[in-house]
């Protein structure tokens, strides 16, 4: 009754705290979208496939591009304990040409439909040599089903699209190992003739598989889970942790802003609170009102901040890798509410210290 009416009849001052929180939530949501966009854009090709893990040459430090394995390792890995399926992975970061001109490409040679293969969201996965599925990001470059995408003098016909399958923020082209190798040879003449070299082996493991045992079964290899493989991509982990620390610091600032606002509000109402305590209102009752107000202000801040962030998303240039995810929105919403409540709780001590006896008389 007290808390809600104070907001209803004092909209101006609460508008101030709600605006401050909305701006903070907006900022944090955009940062979160950037963090997600960067993370998802960098890791899709290894995170969003059927593979649960990847086998690397032990000197590759988990880098697909740096790793070199003989193709014969595929069979050895397949025979290792806990491995249900294994398939070759070849990777080529290069430039290519699409219908509208040059495009960046990450070419993945895999066993289409096998381990490490994405799923097609439109059309089909490639079945014949000379065909490919490409990431939906290439639609912006004019690629449609039936388009030709070429790397050097090797071209492939697009038969399908995959989604959330980018690699290091580059759109991917998924094809068989054979076509991948022709493309590699076309732009890397020095590698021509290395017909038995692949970069990695994608695996699907049993739920209780021991990755160390798999690595031990095949000489000179290490095995990472799909998630670890994503984080091992240069810059991904550092980017995520930097952006996340900015996000959580900003949310802590939100908590401080709420703490200061309610500290001022309580200070201003000290005389009133003393009178209400004299009348029999408990510290708990007055404190709950303040926390309820903080919750309402934070919730409004989340709603307004989220709406503004979504509107802002409409004007962000498509080159900026932002991705607004509901999970991130919920996390940030929860953290904002917690920051608001924790901030308001700093006022509880202040309320507890108000002496009801000061409601009577002036001095002693």
């Amino acid at each position: 009754m007290l808390a809600l009416n104070e907001i209803r009849r004092g909209k101006g001052r609460f508008a101030a705290i709600v605006s401050a929180l909305s701006l903070i939530v907006f900022l944090v949501l955009v940062l979160g979208a950037l963090a997600d966009g960067l993370f998802f854009g960098a890791t899709g090709a290894v995170r969003n496939t059927s593979a649960t893990g990847y086998v690397f040459a032990s000197d590759a430090e988990g880098s697909l591009v740096r790793s070199r394995l003989p193709v014969s390792d595929v069979e050895k890995v397949a025979a290792a304990p806990g491995v249900e399926q294994a398939g070759p992975v070849g990777v080529l970061l290069t430039g290519g040409v699409g219908p509208d001109g040059p495009i960046d490409l990450a070419v993945f040679g895999i066993d289409p439909g096998g381990p490490g293969s994405p799923t097609a969201v439109e059309g089909t996965l490639p079945t014949e040599p000379g065909t490919a599925a490409v990431d939906v990001a290439l639609r912006d470059a004019g690629v449609t089903l039936g388009s030709e995408v070429s790397v050097g003098d090797v071209s492939a016909t697009v038969v399908g699209f995959t989604a959330d399958s980018e690699y290091q923020l580059q759109p991917t082209l998924w094809t068989g190992v054979e076509t991948w190798r022709s493309m590699r040879d076309a732009v890397r003449p020095e590698l021509r003739g290395q017909t038995d070299v692949i970069n990695s082996v994608a695996i699907v493991t049993a739920p209780d598989a021991d990755l160390g045992a798999i690595a031990a079964a095949v000489p000179d290899t290490t095995v990472l889970t799909a998630a670890e493989t994503g984080l091992a991509i240069p810059g991904v982990e550092q980017q995520s942790s930097t952006l996340n620390s900015i996000i959580y610091t900003t949310l802590a600032v939100a908590g401080l802003v709420v703490a200061l606002f309610f500290a001022l509000l309580v200070l201003e109402k000290r005389e009133l609170f003393a009178a209400l305590k004299a009348l029999g209102a408990s510290t708990g009752r007055l404190g709950r009102g303040v926390i309820l107000q903080a919750l309402i202000a934070s919730a409004l801040g989340v709603v307004i901040g989220a709406v503004v962030a979504r509107l802002f998303d409409l004007v962000i240039p498509p080159e900026v890798p932002t991705l607004f995810r509901t999970e991130t929105l919920l996390t940030i919403a929860v953290f904002t509410l917690v920051a608001g409540v924790v901030g308001a709780m700093f006022s509880l001590r202040r309320i507890a210290k108000i002496d009801p006896a000061t409601a009577i008389g002036g001095a002693l």
């Binding site: 009416n5 009849r9 009348l279």
Partner: protein
């Protein structure tokens, strides 16, 4: 124009010293079944060289249905004494009982509930909740007590506002009310939870004489009509005529109990 220092109307100490009334302790012995008993209450602030005795061995008794004044100049200890009676301050020693309840034996939580249920306060400046209407200010205090239904509370608030001549102002916020109206809302708030004791602290401090008289007269009427026990702290001799008895306090000592007619006229 008289010198204020020699004006008996404004100098509460003079009549207190000259009054013919009995000592409050002797008087209390004659009221064994009183609602409020204050026994040897002493309140000391600080210790050693900085020790200040705010109330010294106060003993008094107030009957149910009585409206009395606690009269004294500023610094006399009247505020401290009424705070102890109302469960806002713990005495250094002594005992206060209201009915069969020992106020001085209660812990903080029990005192909060005691104040909500059994004491009504009227403060110097009305101290209404600025963002609640007159009616909501009354309803708020009823929400501090368990077991009062909403309908009951609404009816009681409306009845009190009507008795206090505030029906037309029920939906006004305190800032839209005059000083006298605010103080009348505060009276309604004090009576809202049907308390045993109504404690009133300098209700006329922020009002002019005419308005002050009106408010105290109304206060008396409400307290009497409901059979409540009222204690009004004041240093204003003009207001004691509305009370049944006057307890005089000076330098922390309760000195006399007077009939209002014996004071200041």
């Amino acid at each position: 124009m008289t010198d204020p220092a020699n004006d008996p109307v404004l100098d509460a100490t003079r009549s207190a010293l000259d009054g013919p009334g009995a000592s409050p302790a002797d008087d209390a012995a004659g009221h064994p079944s009183a609602l409020l008993h204050v026994n040897d209450v002493r309140k000391v602030y600080g210790s050693g060289h900085t020790e200040v005795v705010a109330v010294s061995d106060a003993t008094m008794a107030v009957d149910e249905g009585e409206f009395v004044a606690l009269l004294g100049p500023s610094g006399s200890g009247k505020t401290t004494l009424i705070s102890i009676i109302g469960g806002l301050l713990a005495p250094s020693s002594g005992r206060v009982t209201v009915g069969d309840v020992d106020v001085t034996a209660m812990n903080k939580k029990e005192l909060t509930a005691f104040r909500a249920e059994r004491v009504g306060f009227v403060f110097q400046s009305a101290n209404l909740v600025p963002f609640l209407t007159a009616r909501e200010n009354l309803l708020f205090v009823s929400s501090l007590v368990k077991g009062i239904s909403r309908t009951q509370a609404n009816e009681r608030a409306d009845q009190l506002l009507s008795e206090l001549g505030l029906s037309a102002r029920a939906k006004n916020l305190p800032e839209q009310l005059s000083g006298g109206e605010r103080q009348r809302v505060a009276i309604g708030r004090a009576l809202m939870n049907d308390p045993d004791l109504v404690l009133v602290d300098e209700p006329t401090a922020a009002l002019d004489t005419a308005m002050g008289r009106q408010v105290v007269e109304l206060l008396r009427r409400e307290i009497k009509a409901r059979g409540k026990t009222g204690i009004m702290v004041t240093h204003d001799l003009r207001m004691v005529e509305y009370t049944d008895r006057v307890f005089e306090i000076l330098d922390g000592h309760l000195t006399h109990v007077e009939q209002p007619s014996a004071i200041g006229h």
